[in-house]
Each structure stands twice: as C-alpha cells, then as structure tokens.
C-alpha cells in the first residue's frame, strides 16, 4: 500500500527543472506527479514516475543527488471537506504529515493526494481503518 517517490536536489538556477524533465523524457520515463519545495537557495523536487528504478538510474548518472522514499497515495472524496476529513483524522491520531501534494490524474471521480509520513505503516493502517481508499503503486500507475 506504499508508493515509491523519488526526490532530486536542485539548485535554484534556471533550467534545472527542465533538465530533469528532459532527462526523464529521453529515458521514456513518464512523470505522473511532481512537486517542488524550494527555499531561496535550493529546491527539492519530488516525483512519482512510472519507472522509479530507471528514473533513479538516469538521474544519478547525470550527477544528480537522488533519494527514494515511500509515500502514501490516498483518494480524497470529490466534495467539500474531503481533504479536511483525512487531515483531521491524521491530526487527531497525532500523525504528522511531512508534506503532501496532488496527483495529476483522478481516480474515478476522486482526487488523489500524495502524503509523506515519518511513520508510514501506522498512517496506512489508520487510513484503511477509517475507510479511506489507499492506492497501491500498480493502481496508481494504471490511472
């Protein structure tokens, strides 16, 4: 019930993001979700791709620092309060969301959010227990 995310360290200079995109395109890797967190000096690019192993390999070979992390992809009901429901559930249980971002594709009519937890196993258990749909990697890439 976990999805692999890769993250890439980028300096804040123009063209770096485009370069990552072009390296992945050349390797036939499809970017399914992407979020950039940045400071004034640097940024961390987080990606969900259809082939994590290949993406990591080509980016490393081009000199990037690449990390791999397990994240959770969860369906968020497509109605007001959908996201709030999940966040308050997590908040009540004391599970800290390190960061989150939206997946490009929808699952049926629902939005998909990517969550990064420190304690991922507990988070997955909690979500499932409360009827939140958690997508596997395969399900996610098939969207």
């Amino acid at each position: 019930m976990k999805v692999q995310q890769i993250s890439v360290f980028l300096e804040n200079k123009s063209g770096r993001l485009a370069e990552v995109a072009s390296i992945l395109a050349d390797a036939d890797v499809n970017i399914r979700a992407l979020a950039l967190a940045d400071t004034s000096d640097f940024g961390v690019l987080r990606l969900i791709v259809n082939d994590t192993v290949k993406a990591e390999k080509v980016l490393k070979s081009r000199g990037f620092s690449v990390g791999k992390t397990d994240v959770v992809a969860a369906e968020v009901e497509d109605r007001p309060g959908g996201l709030y429901k999940i966040l308050s559930l997590l908040g009540r249980s004391g599970l800290n969301v390190e960061y989150m971002y939206a997946f490009v594709q929808q699952s049926q009519k629902n939005a998909v959010m990517i969550f990064r937890f420190d304690n991922i196993d507990e988070a997955v258990k909690l979500l499932l227990h409360n009827g939140v749909k958690v997508l596997s990697g395969q399900e996610l890439y098939a969207l």
């Binding site: 993250s7 300096e11 400071t39 961390v44 990037f64 990390g67 960061y99």
Partner: protein, 433 residues
C-alpha cells in the same frame, strides 16, 4: 611626529650594533629557556655563541607556525608562568589557536611600539582615538589601546560591531584618530552616510588601518570618503601583534619596521635562501627584545620585499612594502585568519557532509562575506527541506563556534564545484585588494 627619535632615526651602523647585542642575548635566553629552540640549535650543530654577526643569523634554523602548534599552548614560553601577565591567541590551521604570552616588560615595549605607530600615522598627545579594532584574544584592540594611552591620547575602546552606535560616538565625542581594519573603515563611512552623517563634518585627521591586506586604491577610497590621512600598520600575534611595522604619514610608501626590536629578512620560500633588499619573497622575523615569547626566524608566510632607501620622514628604519600575498592559502575574513583546512575539519565533524566544499569570499558593503558551498551528496540529501535547512544551520553554527567567523552556507548540487585537473578549487576570493 617621531615618538622615539633616538631609536627611529638611529644611524644604521649604531642600529646594527644594537641589533647584534640584543640578538645574541635573545638567542642565549631562548636556548636556555625553551627546549624546542635548544633542540633545533643542537640539530643544526650550532650554539648561540657562534652567532657573531647579523649575517650569521642565516645559519639559524627557521621556526614555523607548525612548530608553534606542536608546542601548544605554552611550550614556546621562555619565562615561568608567574612572569606572564597577558595571553593572546590567533587561529591556526587545525582549529587549535596559536597562543602567545607577554611579560610586563613585553606589554610595555609593545605599547611603546604602538605609540610610535600611532605617531607615525599622525596621532599626537591630546588626540582622541576611536579604537574599533576587536578587543579580546585578537591582539588588535588591546594593542592599539595601550599604544594610544602610552602616547598620551584619550582612547575610546569602542571595539568592533554596533556600527550605528559607533557613528553616534564619532559625532558626539569628536575623535580625531581612527583605528580599525580598512574594510571596517569603509563600512563605517557607508553607515554614516545612511544615517545622514558626513565624515567631512566629523573631526578625524588620520587613521591607522591594518590586520588585513589592502591596496593603494582602497587607501584613496578611504581618504576620500572618510576625509582623513590613512596609513597601513602591520603585525602578527606570533611576533607581537600590531606595531611590528607602520607607514609614516609623510611618505606612505612602505612600512618602517621597528628594527631595534625585530630583525626582518626576506627569503625564497622554496629554498629558504636569504634574498637581498629589493627582492620579493617570504618575510621572516626574529624578535630580539621579547621575554615571554621570543621568535627566531619565524616564517610569516607573507610575501613582500624590503626597501633600505632613506625616507623623507627622517626614520632610518628599513621599510617593507605592502604585503602582496601569502605562501599558503590563509584567508583573512574581517581580520580573522581562516585556513580552508580549518573549515574542512569543521565540515568533517558533520557526518552527512562529504569533503566537497568551496569557500567564496566577497566584499559586500565593504565587509568581507564568506560563503561556504557544500555539495549535497547521497548522505546529506533528504526529501525534507526542513532537514536540509537544519544541516545548513548546523554547519554555520560549527564554523562560528570553532573559527569565530560568520559564514553563509549554500548547499549546491553534486559535482558543481569547479575542479581543476580533478582537484577541487577550494577558494575563490572575489575581493579586490
């Protein structure tokens, strides 16, 4: 004004015989009191008694910063601790500082030399000295302070920092002499301008600036912006501190070395061979009157040349040209000595950091700014921005704690630091000196 007419204008012949007498006594004392020096003499197969002329000095072995480090902290002291009244220290190559000691007579002599230096720059009894050199382990603040008091001037011991308050003091106390690093002088000028205070309306007539290398261009800029006459002062704590040599305000062409206390030599840094007057090489000093911490042929790593032509000011003391470089990679950041190897050892204590770093020095608003670029390798990288920022802060704090300098830390991509022939370029100094 010449503070000590007798010694500063002594005929060369008399000066040289005084030097020889003092040198012989100083070598005897160091040999008797400091095991390190005794061992060095023995290894070279000589005794102090064999030094019969100033020319014989070149047979004596050199002393290096490494030697001082090996004898950390008090191993080079030539007097018992109960005679040492002051201890100063400057940073060394490994984070261990170089420690120097002074007897009451050393402090007295140093004050005399600083009084001479201030007078050479244009100060006099009755002047008010705004002393913005840092007070503390660094020799600048207390050195200038004691010299100003010895001269009979009034000292404002303002030390470094709090620039706005400094400008207010300059307006209200009407100091006439400024002592600080040349870059801080320019910083003061800018701060004053921002506060709507013009140096033209202040009362300065002269400034004695040192503790970092500076150029003729910078002198012009300081003199224009601060409306005062600027001279260069040189010194290093191992030799005594500031007041080893100073420019006279009449000529402003080379720094008169106080040769009745220190014998300067220029050597070829590669072969160690003595070079004649006029040739450029590494500056070497032998102290001939110091009690607590005598130095014998101490290699300063500073590159310059000596000029023995008579000077219009009347001093007969030889002049050294402005220091033009270093034989090692030492950087002076806001008056603090920094070696790249020190930064490296600080970085190595943080286990996430790999030894891929670069130091970039810029001068922004006339202040030195040190940026430490660190490559983000696999060990350091995290998908959490918070964690990366925490590492930046940790590096910054370590550098400040261990080296006493504030640095900006910039995380950069792997392999982005320029490498020349496979070797990383460790230092980029963008300051125009």
């Amino acid at each position: 004004m010449i503070y000590d007419i007798r010694h500063e204008t002594m005929p060369r012949e008399d000066l040289e015989s005084l030097q020889l007498r003092r040198l012989q006594a100083s070598l005897e004392r160091a040999y008797a009191m400091v095991p390190f020096y005794r061992k060095r003499f023995q290894e070279a197969g000589i005794t102090p008694g064999q030094i019969r002329s100033l020319a014989d000095l070149k047979n004596v072995p050199f002393t290096t910063k490494q030697d001082l480090r090996d004898n950390y902290p008090f191993g080079m002291f030539a007097v018992p601790m109960d005679m040492v009244v002051r201890i100063h220290a400057s940073s060394g190559t490994t984070g261990k500082p170089t420690v120097v000691g002074y007897t009451a007579r050393d402090i007295e002599m140093w004050a005399e030399l600083m009084a001479r230096s201030l007078a050479a720059g244009g100060a006099n009894r009755g002047d008010i000295v705004h002393n913005a050199y840092g007070y503390g382990l660094f020799t600048g603040g207390l050195g200038a302070h004691y010299g100003a008091e010895k001269l009979g001037a009034s000292v404002i011991p303002v030390s470094g920092g709090n620039t706005k308050r400094q400008v207010l003091i300059m307006k209200d106390f009407k100091p006439t002499i400024l002592t600080c690093t040349p870059s801080y002088a320019l910083h003061l000028a800018e701060a004053a301008e921002e506060m709507g205070v013009s140096f033209a309306d202040l009362h300065f007539k002269a400034g004695i600036f040192g503790a970092e290398p500076w150029s003729e261009n910078m002198r012009e800029e300081i003199e224009r912006k601060l409306h005062l006459s600027a001279v260069d002062i040189y010194g290093l704590s191992e030799v005594i501190g500031p007041g080893v040599s100073v420019e006279c305000h009449q000529a402003k062409k080379g720094l008169h070395v106080f040769e009745d206390h220190f014998i300067p030599e220029i050597i070829d840094p590669n072969t160690g061979k003595s070079l004649p007057y006029g040739e450029t090489g590494e500056l070497v000093f032998t102290s001939i009157t110091k009690e607590a911490f005598p130095v014998i042929r101490y290699r300063t790593r500073d590159i310059t040349s000596l000029n023995c032509e008579p000077c219009i000011c009347g001093r007969t003391l030889v002049r050294m040209n402005k220091v033009s470089g270093r034989t090692d990679d030492m950087l002076i950041i806001r008056g603090v000595n920094v070696f790249p190897s020190q930064i490296e050892s600080v970085l190595m204590e943080i286990h996430e950091v790999e030894p891929h770093y670069q130091l970039v020095v810029d001068r922004e608003d006339n202040l030195d700014v040190l940026t430490v670029k660190v490559e983000v390798g696999e060990k350091l990288f995290s998908d959490k921005v918070k964690k990366l920022q925490e590492i930046e802060r940790r590096i910054q704090k370590h550098i400040k704690d261990y080296l006493g300098v504030s640095a900006k830390v910039k995380l950069v991509e792997p392999k982005s630091i320029q490498r020349s022939e496979g070797k990383a370029v460790r230092v980029i100094d963008n300051r125009k000196i």
